[in-house]
């Protein structure tokens, strides 16, 4: 009899302190990664403190580990935050749908992420970069409130090293430091300044609701079809498997039918998120 709430124990291989209150944790199960796809999520727990839902932040093509990023905010995340390399994390998953990479192949892609919402974007971005030749021009636009809030500093350098790949990093006005060399401005503003066109292109967006709202408008202005704009929704979840009744938006259970949706799909949902 399968206990669908039973976590596997994953071992912490590495912890990357991204910002003062965010971390990326690299995990292995039996010494390797698990099977999952970008866009999917898992239930990660500090045993004894509780479970939290996070999307995968790593490329599923990299087999040595899988990772997620989190911000310490409540009891469960504080628990995870207290763990060290070698400690175990409870893991259930992968759950939910994933990015349709088939649809993305051969096209130009712009990846847009804001704050900790960059995590799922990183997963699909690195997936695409791992098979760089399958895709057209890749543009990455990543924004954070301040320079201090920028995550994935090492990864960013790696993204930049790929051919035909533009990486644009921006911080909100007022969030820059004197030696900041990136852009300054809100993500939608910077986005509209980028040389990206909507034809034969896909946009992947994730971030805070307010950012997504304005980014969608900008993308439409830039000629993207709603079907070609893909985002992930981050509703509060507990079970992750369509039982606990928390994450639905209208008739859509985000945990099962999401979290990846096109702008077109979102448009048809009631405003309940």
């Amino acid at each position: 009899m399968e206990n669908i709430y039973l976590p596997k124990l994953a071992v912490i291989k590495e912890i990357i302190q991204e910002t003062s209150d965010t971390k990326t944790v690299r995990l292995t199960v039996d010494g390797a990664s698990i099977d999952y796809l970008p866009g999917q999520f898992g239930e990660f727990s500090c045993i004894g403190e509780g479970e939290s839902t996070f999307g995968f932040a790593s490329s599923s093509l990299r087999k040595e580990f899988f990772e997620f990023s989190f911000r310490t905010s409540g009891r469960a995340t504080a628990g995870i935050n207290s763990l060290n390399v070698g400690d175990s994390i409870g893991f259930r998953g992968p759950y939910g749908n994933f990015f349709d990479t088939g649809k993305m192949k051969g096209k130009d892609i712009i990846f847009i992420g804001g704050g900790i919402g960059m995590a799922p974007v990183k997963s699909i971005l690195e997936y695409c970069l791992d098979e760089r030749n399958d895709y057209g021009k890749i543009t990455v636009l990543y924004g954070a409130k301040t320079v201090m809030d920028l995550m994935y500093k090492n990864a960013i350098e790696e993204w930049k090293s790929f051919a035909n790949t533009d990486v644009v990093i921006t911080v909100d006005p007022g969030g820059e430091t004197p030696d900041w060399k990136g852009r300054v401005g809100f993500v939608p503003t910077i986005l509209e300044e980028l040389p990206v066109k909507g034809n034969n292109a896909i946009a992947v967006v994730c971030g805070p609701p307010i950012m997504i709202k304005f980014v969608l408008k900008s993308l439409e202005k830039m000629g993207f079809n709603k079907e070609d704009i893909i985002t992930t929704l981050e509703n509060r979840m507990k079970c992750g498997i369509g039982k606990c009744g928390r994450c639905n938006i209208g008739s859509v259970y985000v945990c099962k039918e999401g979290p990846v949706f096109t702008a077109k799909e979102i448009e048809s949902m009631p405003n309940d998120f």
């Binding site: 509780g50 409540g74 009891r75 504080a78």
Partner: protein, 299 residues
């Protein structure tokens, strides 16, 4: 009742027409003839919905804590004397500005227990009203802007029924027996938090039970979590509870919460001479101290 309703309606109409309030919260007929429910009136033409009788069990002051209701700004509230004390306490605790509320006090002759009314009881007598009505000192509200007098005579109290009799009984029990009594009661709890939601003074937007850093109250809906919740609820209401009894009325599993609230109210009065909800300018009993306070239990 007719005269009462007329006055109620006229008062409400005037307040709305003169824009002295933007909303009137009062009672109206409910889902059956022996049930009343709250009604929210913004249009002076709707005041005919207002009425009052012995089935107006709800403490409408509870709505004053709702953000959706607060948005209306100035509010006219129909309250019975017992419930009005909640308004006083809300003012005392800075949850409500006296300027933002018009208190339409109604003289109340006692409210028929809802479980009896649901079985058809319609008469006000000492065996049908709540215990709080038997000890009521505020049939006429303490504070009001308008008073709607009752047309009904007061019911007779002959002492056959001792309100909150169980309190003395519990006091006389051994601690183990009390333990068992409450354990049995709290076992029933389903942690729906209706006691909290129905309480006009449980106005925290983030209840202590929702805080998990640290986890003040275990989340389980079993003996430990239930006991902790019920204990802490009672503790937070000690010296504050005004005895409207809404928690107990709302409780779907009939935990006698008023036995705790009333007991604490009595103890607080005995030890500190303080009664909650009486004076909007009083210092709340646990917001102050006296150097000569009760000290006997301390070595």
């Amino acid at each position: 009742m007719e005269k009462m309703n007329d006055k109620l309606q006229n008062t409400a109409k005037e307040l709305l027409e003169n824009k002295e309030v933007n909303l009137i919260i009062g009672f109206t007929k409910g889902s059956n003839p022996l049930r009343m429910r709250s009604v929210f009136i913004t249009d002076p033409n709707d005041v005919s919905k207002l009425s009052f009788n012995a089935h107006c069990v709800q403490d409408l002051a509870v709505f004053l804590k709702k953000p959706e209701v607060k948005k209306f700004g100035k509010i006219g509230l129909v309250v019975k004397g017992c419930d009005e004390k909640a308004v006083n306490t809300l003012i005392q605790e800075y949850q409500l500005s006296r300027d933002n509320i018009k208190i339409i006090g109604v003289e109340c002759r006692g409210a028929v227990k809802q479980n009896l009314a649901d079985k058809g009881e319609d008469s006000v007598k000492q065996s049908t009203v709540y215990d709080k009505c038997l000890v009521c000192e505020v049939h006429t509200p303490l504070l009001y802007d308008y008073l709607v007098e009752s047309d009904e005579p007061a019911f007779e109290i002959n002492g056959d029924i001792k309100p909150y009799a169980k309190i003395e009984e519990l006091d006389a029990m051994s601690v183990e027996d009390r333990n068992m009594f409450w354990q049995k009661e709290f076992e029933k709890c389903i942690k729906c938090y209706a006691c909290r939601q129905a309480c006009p003074l449980c106005y925290c937007t983030r209840c202590i039970v929702e805080k998990n850093t640290p986890q003040w109250i275990e989340t389980n809906i079993e003996e430990t979590g239930n006991a902790q919740w019920n204990m802490i609820r009672a503790y937070h209401l000690s010296g504050r509870c005004i005895g409207c009894g809404e928690c107990e009325r709302a409780c779907p599993v009939n935990i006698p919460l008023m036995l705790v609230n009333e007991k604490m109210a009595r103890d607080v009065f005995e030890k500190f001479g303080y009664k909650s909800g009486v004076d909007i300018n009083a210092k709340p009993v646990f917001g102050t101290f006296d150097a000569n306070d009760f000290n006997e239990f301390i070595k």
